[in-house]
Amino acid sequence: MLAKRIIPCLDVTAGRVVKGTNFVGLRDAGDPIEIARRYNEQGADEVTFLDITASSDQRDIILHIIEACAEQVFIPLTVGGGVRKVEDVRRLLNAGADKVSMNTAAVQNPDLVFDASSKVGSQCIVVAIDAKQVAPGLWHVFTHGGRNDTGMDAIEWAKKVDALGAGEILLTSMDRDGTKNGFDLALTRAVSDAVKIPVIASGGVGNLQHLADGVSEGRADAVLAASIFHFGEYTVRQAKEYMASRGIEVRL
C-alpha cells in the first residue's frame, strides 16, 4: 500500500533555515543542506524548502541551495516562495527541484497553474493554500504570508486548482501555524475530501499524535512539520514509528 508521507519543511532566508510563530519572530535553525541531509538519513519521504526571502536580489540563493542539495539528497525536493511565472518554475526544476509550490501568484493569476502544469506536468506543480477560519466551517484563502484576506473560500479554491491541473495541495492553517496545537483537522478533511489530488497538511504540529491525527482524521496524504524536527524534539524516524504504531502505513 502507498505510505503516508512525512515531510520536514525548511523555511529558508539568506541561506539559513529559520522558524517563526504565526509567520513572525524568526529563529535560526541551521544550514539547509546539512539539515536536508540529516532528514534524508532519518528517513524523510520528501523535503520542502520555502524561500521566505523578502527581497528579490537574494532570490538566486535558493537556486544554489537546491543545486547543492540535489547532488547529495536523493529524495524528492519541493521548493516554494516567490514563484511568479512559468520561467521561475523552470529555473527551480532545472536546479534540481522535483516540485515547485506557488501561492500568492496562483491566486492573482490562476492561469499560471494551468500554464505551468501544461508545460512541465501536473506532477511538478504544488499549490500552497494558506487558510484561516473566518466563521464556523468557513475558511478564507490568505496571501502575502497571511496578511491579505482574499475573501475566497479555501475549499472552492482547492477544487479550482485541482481542475486547473495542480498535482498536489499544500494546505496550511494560518490559525495553527507555529502554535503546536495540532493541525486544523476540520479544514484538512474538508479540503482532502473535496479534491482528487493529494493534500499535504501543514501548520500546528507540536507532537507525534498531531501527525497521526492529520492522516487518520484529516485524511491528509502527507503531513508537514518544521519545528518539532529542527530543534531535535523528535526525529523523523520516531515520528514514523509512532504513526506505524497507530496503524498508519509508513515507509520505515
Binding site: L93, A95, I197, P198
Partner: protein, 210 residues
C-alpha cells in the same frame, strides 16, 4: 565508456544524472540530445516526465527516435517513468502512439477503483512511496523484496506479455511497475529519488552485463 542520459527537453534531468554520477564509480555521465553520443555510449538511460504526447513529439523533433530504438536493441538500457511508458505501443494519455518496443498499452488509474471501503478517495497522481513486489532480476540485487520506491504518475503500463513483468505494485488496482527483457529494464518509479534502494538499483544498472 560513458552513460548517456537522453535529453529531449522534458523536465529536469539533473536529479537522474547526479544520482548516476553518485554510483557510477568514475564512469562519465553525459546528458545529451545528440544521436551520435547516444550511439557511442556504453549504456543508456531514458527518462521522462510530463505528458506522454509532448514527450513523443519532443523526441521526434530532436531526431532521437532512431537512436533510442537502436540503443534499446543493443546495449544496457534503463527507462524511467514516461521513459518506461514510451517503450509500449499506445498511451491513453492524449491517445498517442509510442515506440512499440514492447507490446501493450498505457492506461490511467481507473476512477471507479480509486475509493477505499471507508469512502476515502485514493488520490491521483499516485504520489509517494509504494511497495514493489519483485520478480527475479539482476537489477534487484541487494534490494529487499517489497522495498518502497518513490512514484509520481497517473498512468501505468499493461504489457501484453506477462513474462515482461519484473516488478508490480498496488494502488486501488494491481499494476506493473517494472519490466525487463534482454538488455532493457524499465521502471515506473523514480530510482533517482528513492534514497538508498534507488541508488542501489542505479548502481546495479551501471554494473549490469545482460
Amino acid at each position: 565508456m560513458s552513460i548517456a542520459v537522453i535529453d529531449y527537453g522534458m523536465g529536469n534531468l539533473r536529479s537522474v544524472s547526479k544520482a548516476l554520477e553518485h554510483v557510477a564509480g568514475g564512469k562519465q555521465v553525459i546528458v545529451t540530445a545528440e544521436p551520435a553520443v547516444v550511439a557511442e555510449a556504453e549504456r543508456v538511460v531514458f527518462p521522462g516526465q510530463g505528458a506522454m504526447p509532448d514527450c513523443m513529439s519532443e523526441l521526434d523533433a530532436r531526431g532521437l527516435r532512431a537512436a533510442v530504438l537502436a540503443a534499446a536493441k543493443s546495449k544496457p538500457f534503463l527507462g524511467i517513468c514516461v521513459g518506461e511508458q514510451m517503450l509500449f505501443e499506445h498511451s491513453d494519455e492524449g491517445n498517442v502512439a509510442a515506440l512499440a518496443v514492447f507490446a501493450g498499452n498505457v492506461k490511467r488509474f481507473p476512477d471507479e477503483k480509486m475509493v477505499l471501503p471507508t469512502g476515502e478517495r485514493l488520490k491521483v497522481p499516485h504520489m509517494g512511496w509504494n511497495e514493489v513486489v519483485q520478480k527475479p532480476h539482476a537489477l534487484w540485487r541487494g534490494i529487499d523484496d517489497r522495498s518502497r520506491f518513490y512514484f509520481v504518475h497517473s498512468y501505468f503500463v499493461e504489457p501484453a506479455d506477462p513474462a515482461l513483468v519484473t516488478g508490480s505494485s498496488e494502488y486501488g488496482v494491481p499494476f506493473t511497475c517494472a519490466v525487463g527483457r534482454d538488455n532493457i529494464f524499465a521502471v515506473q518509479f523514480h530510482p533517482e529519488k528513492s534514497a538508498r534502494d534507488g541508488l542501489q538499483l542505479l548502481k546495479n544498472f551501471v554494473e549490469w552485463h545482460p
